[in-house]
């Protein structure tokens, strides 16, 4: 073992565990661009996760603060209702994007499951679903941006905080951008569909149950051979 190399700092280990630094083995030739994009995607989502977590925690804190102020100090702050609502809007759209990144959105796959796995039909359906998500992302990005930009030049402010109105609509283009970014990387094969950032690979219960059925059948057949 080469002991001369400097010991890795905690930050460095954290970076590598979260796959936030490019893999030197893949940094040559044409795969370098893909690797850089992959790392950029991981960084973007790390940031997104922190924003979402902070927004969620802040929502709880602000609402509790309102109640405390009301009952303990008999006072209140005007913006204590407006800011949580802005935060939940932001959170909802970020969560939508996060859901796309980690394939969390629920879909009905009982027709999909009829077809053989890794067959052409399944691939076609997967591609179609990806395309639909991409279209939605583009819609959120373009029209969300257009709407926010239109509001930005109009006079108007949110009633309590006095912030400009367009920030209410900014989460839509933000989420749209992230969805388009992720979806393009998925569809070009830069990102592996199993490369999950927020969760373990989700257990597909219907598949698990199918496996168990097979096991049960095979057990049954070995026991008595009674397969009706």
């Amino acid at each position: 073992m080469n002991k001369i190399a400097a010991p890795k700092g905690r930050f460095r280990i954290w970076l590598e565990e979260n796959r936030l630094v490019p893999d030197p083995g893949k940094m040559h030739g044409s795969s370098a661009i893909a690797e850089i994009l992959r790392v950029a995607n991981h960084w973007a989502h790390k940031l997104l996760l922190y924003i979402a977590q902070v927004a969620l925690a802040l929502m709880v804190v602000l609402v509790i603060m309102t109640v405390t102020l009301r009952y303990v100090f008999r006072t209140g702050i005007g913006w204590a209702e407006e800011v949580p609502v802005l935060l939940v809007t932001l959170f909802a759209f970020l969560a939508t994007a996060i859901g796309v990144r980690d394939h969390m959105h629920i879909s009905m796959n009982f027709i999909y499951n009829i077809f053989p796995s890794k067959g052409k039909i399944r691939k076609g359906l997967d591609f179609f679903a990806d395309l639909c998500v991409l279209v939605c992302g583009l819609f959120l990005l373009l029209y969300g941006w257009r709407y926010a930009a239109r509001l930005a030049v109009l006079p108007g402010a949110l009633p309590m905080t006095g912030w400009p109105t367009f920030i209410r609509y900014l989460p839509a283009p933000m989420a749209g951008f992230v969805i388009v970014f992720d979806q393009l990387l998925f569809m070009t094969g830069v990102l592996d569909p199993d490369d999950l950032l927020y969760s373990e690979k989700e257990v597909d219960w219907s598949e698990v149950v199918k496996e168990q059925k097979k096991e049960a059948l095979s057990e049954h057949s070995t026991e008595g051979g009674d397969l009706s």
Partner: protein, 471 residues
């Protein structure tokens, strides 16, 4: 074909086709809405505005709070404490664990509003215990799945918030919570009675106390030294250290009760706070969330504060689905109203029959059929704008809160019916059995559930009595 009818066809037909092609529900809703808007000449920026408006709501904050609360609870392994309490109450009878299974879901329903969370956290403890004691494996799984459906009715339940939002904000979330309590407990008790009646048929094994002595039998009825039958003190549990009431067993009991009651105080915070008008439903959710946080990390210390980021991450899975669905469904509902679809369906249904009983039966059958294929949250979001005008029309004159409870109860049946039932899938996976075998054992329980559904549909006071008393 007029533009409006083409747009209607694209909106509804397109949605169903996209759904069947395995496009996620949120994006199926959005794409069909966008296509329909393009055909009908609605500006697409309106759809962005609708989506944002759908999630810009103070009441909506309750959903992330409740889900976060449930995640903190499951991180703190509250299910064990709840099972201990249920066991203390009914565990000692013949078929004890089956009754425990009914009761613990009732308690857990007061903490979490998700049937799936209920099955995965309680089921993973109770099902292996039941199987070990000699219960039929499929029966155990089926019982766990069916009883877990109480969770979506007993407050706090984020599904109630989803319904209130889908209904257009005119419905008080606090009232919805109150209304769900009795039907939820009623379902649990009905299943409990079903188990008690069939205890000989299924040959339930005798009761057992897990890790406990005999906690309540302080008196023994047996022959004494002089040959007479009489009550006398049970030497195992009676009187230690000179105190006639406080024994070691008694201490254990109190510990179990306190350990289970503390997490269940959330329901007191929510129901009490909202019922007495101390705070709104959203505020009560935040306070309950904070209470759970303090309880898990500072009082029980069953979870490490270092892993709190992990809890936040876990809650993202449910929230990503629910919140994006609410945004997309708002745009979908806007398009439906724009095309007057709910009004047309109301006209059509009322023209088929204006008999209240038959109409409600049709609606229930429709919802049961849809519930077998789809999950609860999307169906609440999609069906509420369509069906609420029907049931509140003068021909039926149903209370929106009563309808909400009926809808959620009905869709709860759908959570445990094949081919698509998320609670059933998780139950079968946790219990390591097949859906077919479990479904066969569940037929009786389905009958009980549907009977309860009919009672709740046709007797409004089941749902409306408690909110009318409290508010």
């Amino acid at each position: 074909m007029t533009t409006a009818s083409l747009a209607t066809l694209v909106l509804l037909g397109g949605f169903v086709i996209l759904l069947l092609l395995k496009v996620p529900v949120t994006f199926s809703l959005l794409i069909s809405t966008l296509c329909s808007a393009l055909i009908n000449g609605v500006n697409l920026t309106v759809m962005v505005r609708m989506m944002i408006d759908g999630v810009s709501n103070f009441a909506l904050l309750a959903i992330p709070f409740f889900i976060l609360m449930g995640e903190i609870m499951s991180e703190g392994e509250v299910s064990d404490k709840i099972i201990d309490l249920a066991n203390l109450i009914v565990g000692r009878y013949k078929g004890g664990l089956a009754y425990v299974n009914c009761i613990d879901s009732m308690f857990f329903g007061g903490i979490s509003g998700s049937a799936v969370a209920d099955v995965s956290s309680l089921g993973s403890v109770v099902i292996p215990l039941m199987v070990k004691q000699g219960y039929n494996r499929e029966f155990s799984v089926g019982l766990t799945v069916v009883t877990a459906c109480q969770g979506v009715l007993i407050p706090p339940s984020h599904n109630m918030v989803i319904y209130a939002l889908a209904a257009g904000g005119g419905i008080s979330i606090g009232r919805m919570f109150m209304a769900g309590a009795i039907p939820g407990v009623f379902l649990g008790l009905a299943i409990l009675i079903y188990c008690i009646l069939l205890r000989h048929h299924y040959q339930f094994p005798g009761g057992i106390r897990i890790g406990m002595g005999d906690p309540v039998r302080w008196l023994k009825f047996s022959k004494t030294g002089n040959g007479k039958w009489s009550f006398h003190r049970n030497p195992e549990t009676w009187m230690i250290m000179g105190n006639p009431f406080f024994t070691v067993e008694m201490g254990k009991c109190i510990q179990i009760i306190v350990n289970a009651i503390l997490p269940m105080m959330t329901i007191v915070i929510i129901m009490g706070g909202v019922g007495l008008g101390i705070f709104t439903a959203t505020e009560s959710a935040a306070i309950a969330c904070f209470y759970t946080f303090v309880l898990t990390y500072f009082i029980f210390r069953t979870a490490k504060l270092r892993d709190f980021g992990h809890v936040l991450k876990n809650s993202l899975r449910t929230l990503a689905v629910v919140l994006s669905l609410i945004a997309a469904a708002k745009a979908f509902a806007y398009m439906m109203t724009d095309l007057r679809i709910p009004a047309k369906i109301t006209m059509w249904l009322v023209s088929v029959t204006d008999n209240r009983i038959i109409l409600l039966l049709i609606i229930n059958l429709l919802l049961l059929a849809l519930g077998a294929f789809m999950d609860m949250a999307p169906l609440i979001m999609i069906m509420t704008p369509i069906l609420l005008p029907v049931v509140t029309s003068p021909a039926i004159g149903m209370d929106p809160i009563h309808f909400g409870i009926m809808l959620i109860f009905n869709l709860a049946v759908g959570l445990c019916t094949p081919p698509v039932g998320s609670a059933l899938f998780v139950g079968c996976a946790v219990g390591k059995t097949t859906i077919e075998a479990t479904t066969k054992k569940m037929i009786g329980m389905f009958a009980v559930m549907v009977a309860c559904l009919m009672i709740i549909t046709y007797i409004p006071s089941f749902s409306l009595w408690l909110p009318s008393v409290v508010f």
